[in-house]
């Protein structure tokens, strides 16, 4: 399978959006070429071994999404209360200025430009490097609108930027989402990527986020996949973390029938730190696939990664956590943990830590397990009158909530608790006790 409708289309050069600068056009042409040259993944392609792309093979998902609109009312349901973010709305990959906050009223120290007239494109499409995938090339080749978000040197921006990506088209189509986030040295900012969908949508979201965190800068990053199950999502988050910088990322995958996210973090300077935590909760026939990779290229960097999943019904999860410690990366501290809970005997998980260590003075800990609910904890709850069924709900929720509680942004915590609790609590009265903490 090497030819989809889009392969053909791109080869003919017909769907390329013609971007203003020749520089972007060049990058796009190269990407289009790469896309056309890269063979379609099969079960023999290592990185896609457990993630069949059958749903995409018919080709109908490669029809570029048309521009559409949604009313402010229709978008209200996606609001994250108390986040008080600067919100940018994309509908099926098209930037929707009317529903976004006023780009002339940005927090001090932040600029947002359209890709076409961005002042500095030095780093555009540079984050993935050798990790670029077929779908990344597709994204680059067919970008509709992309935003470049810049945080100035020393800027300490407390207002989070919330990029709301809505899948809305109710016939199969392709929506490219693209963000280039660039933080200058000593800056501090928060990015929330929020993927949602309207009823009956059938969108293939193909997203790429590039994060550049400059020297001594701090980036707080949340990526929430909450689309309905009729949608598909393949995405990549590629970050470069510079000297003494800190990246703190959290991923939640609950949406879409097929979700694949590549998380690639590269250390570009010593003394940097990255946390990539995540939660996935596939059910029904959902498939979630996280491929993470930490590139320890330089000495004295710390990476920490905790992913937990609960897989129900006939759902499947794939977790591949790679830690690559280069020859020069002495004094690296890298930790990776992946725990999975299967709540049905038809649920499946394939988890694999992948360590490549070429330096000798490093500390690296990893673990990938299929866990069970703690029998003693279960017993303790039951001795307090709680039914086995409810105890299961509470412990499953607790397993995930441990990671949610650690998030720095309390508005996100408050937003996610009920969203996640709803997934576990089959009865409303269970739900009530799960979200009770907010009362204290």
């Amino acid at each position: 399978m090497t030819s989809t409708p889009l392969h053909a289309a791109i080869a003919a050069g017909s769907t390329l959006t013609s971007h203003a600068t020749t520089k972007i056009a060049d990058v796009q042409n190269a990407a289009a070429h790469a896309w056309a040259q890269t063979p379609w993944p099969t079960r023999k392609t290592e990185a896609w071994k457990y993630t069949p792309l059958k749903a995409l093979e018919k080709g109908e998902y490669f029809i570029p999404a048309a521009k559409s609109t949604l009313s402010a009312d229709a978008l209200k349901q996606f609001a994250i209360n108390r986040l008080e973010a600067f919100t940018l709305v994309f509908i099926d990959g098209h930037f929707c200025a009317e529903q976004s906050d006023d780009l002339t009223q940005l927090p001090t120290g932040m600029t947002i430009e359209h890709l076409d007239d961005a002042s500095n494109l030095e780093q555009f499409n540079k984050a993935a490097g050798e990790h670029a995938t077929l779908f990344g090339e597709l994204n680059t080749a067919t970008i509709n609108t992309a935003l470049v978000i810049n945080v100035a040197k020393n800027a300490q921006i407390t207002q989070p930027v919330n990029v709301l990506n809505v899948a809305s088209a109710n016939a199969p189509c392709l929506a490219n989402a693209r963000i280039l986030w660039q933080q200058a040295p000593h800056s501090k900012a928060t990015l929330v990527e929020h993927f949602v969908s309207t009823q009956d949508s059938q969108v293939f979201t193909n997203s790429i986020t590039e994060l550049f965190v400059g020297e001594n800068a701090q980036c707080e990053h949340y990526r929430l996949h909450l689309e309905d199950e009729a949608n598909l999502h393949i995405g990549g988050v590629y970050s470069h973390v510079h000297k003494h910088a800190r990246l703190n990322s959290f991923y939640l995958a609950m949406g879409a029938n097929l979700q694949r996210v590549d998380v690639v973090t590269q250390f570009e300077g010593e003394g940097a730190e990255a946390v990539n935590n995540g939660v996935y909760l596939p059910r029904n026939k959902q498939l979630v696939d996280f491929h993470t990779c930490i590139e320890h290229k330089v000495p004295h960097c710390n990476s920490n990664e905790i992913f937990r999943g609960i897989i129900g019904d006939s759902a499947r999860a794939v977790f591949n956590g790679r830690i690559h410690i280069h020859k020069d990366a002495q004094k690296t501290l890298a930790e990776l943990s992946n725990k999975n809970l299967l709540t049905s005997n038809k649920a499946e998980v394939n988890t694999k830590p992948e360590l490549e260590i070429y330096a000798d003075d490093v500390r690296c800990a990893h673990g990938a397990t299929i866990a069970e609910l703690d029998a003693l904890a279960m017993h303790y709850l039951r001795t307090r009158g709680i039914s086995q069924e409810e105890a299961q709900v509470m412990l499953s929720f607790g397993f995930i909530n441990e990671l949610i509680e650690q998030l720095n942004n309390t508005a996100i915590v408050e937003y996610l608790r009920p969203v996640i609790a709803q997934r576990f609590a089959k009865k409303p009265e269970f739900l009530e006790s799960l979200i009770h903490e907010a009362l204290v």
């Binding site: 003693l376 017993h379 307090r384 909530n401 006790s433 204290v440």
Partner: protein, 249 residues
């Protein structure tokens, strides 16, 4: 209230309780003392209904009802409360959420009026105060990172909210500092009533100065080998358990 007759139980195929008899009337406090490994905690677990504790003979009734026929959570709802010797840590499940679920389950079963969120909060705060635990403990994971003494106080707090008929306190005094001991004792004494009974398992006579028992029993090798009033505890403190061996034979 609680009648235990000739109770025999195995743990991992090993016979631990070997024909234990105990009759507890409403409002009474019974202290159980006895050497390590005698089966005191086993008795608590058997009464609370822990998996893996196999009853091989005898009977236990609570107000005439066959307790052993009930599932663990049903016993709790009927009014059995076990304060664990080693309370369990449950990270990710907040104490608050846990207490609410527990109180709801128990009150629903007993057909007591439900506590709405506001009155529940009020009760929970009061209970915290009564055992001298900061309210912040309500937000934390169940027993997660609590010190030994805090865990024990958390058990007593749960007991206060659940208002059991029979509470079994398994070494709730061990690991407590002198002030905390008094706090726990006050908590128990505040709950003493003609309708509620207690089994207090302890190694130390000191606790019984604060929680004055109606009876003191010695459990050794899976049986009650001697019973007496509170003075028996003093005698044990002085003489240890060795002198009883002759008597039990």
């Amino acid at each position: 209230m609680l009648t235990i007759e000739n109770l025999q139980a195995n743990v991992s195929d090993k016979n631990i309780l070997k024909g234990l008899n105990l009759e507890i009337k409403p409002g009474e406090v019974h202290a159980i003392m006895g050497p390590n490994g005698a089966g005191k905690s086993t008795l608590g677990h058997v009464l609370a209904g822990r998996d893996g504790y196999e009853v091989t003979g005898g009977s236990v009734t609570l107000e005439g009802k066959d307790l052993l026929a009930l599932a663990c959570e049903e016993r709790a709802r009927e009014g059995v409360f076990l304060a664990f010797q080693y309370p369990v840590e449950i990270p990710g499940v907040s104490n608050m959420e846990f207490l609410k679920a527990s109180v709801d389950a128990v009150r629903t079963h007993r057909e007591l009026p439900a506590w709405d969120a506001v009155s529940f909060m009020k009760k929970a705060r009061e209970a915290c105060k009564a055992v001298n635990l900061d309210q912040q403990f309500l937000k934390r994971g169940v027993n997660e990172g609590f010190s030994g003494g805090e865990k024990k106080r958390n058990e007593i707090m749960q007991m206060m909210l659940l208002e059991p008929k029979i509470a079994i306190l398994d070494e709730t005094d061990s690991g407590l500092d002198i002030d905390a001991l008094q706090v726990v004792a006050n908590g128990v004494n505040a709950l003493r009533s003609p309708e509620r009974s207690f089994i207090v398992v302890t190694h130390y006579q000191r606790l019984l100065d604060y929680i004055v028992p109606d009876y003191v029993h010695v459990l050794a090798d899976g049986k009650i080998v001697k019973s007496g009033d509170k003075n028996l505890a003093l005698e044990l403190e002085e003489k240890g358990y060795g002198w009883l061996e002759g008597e039990s034979a």
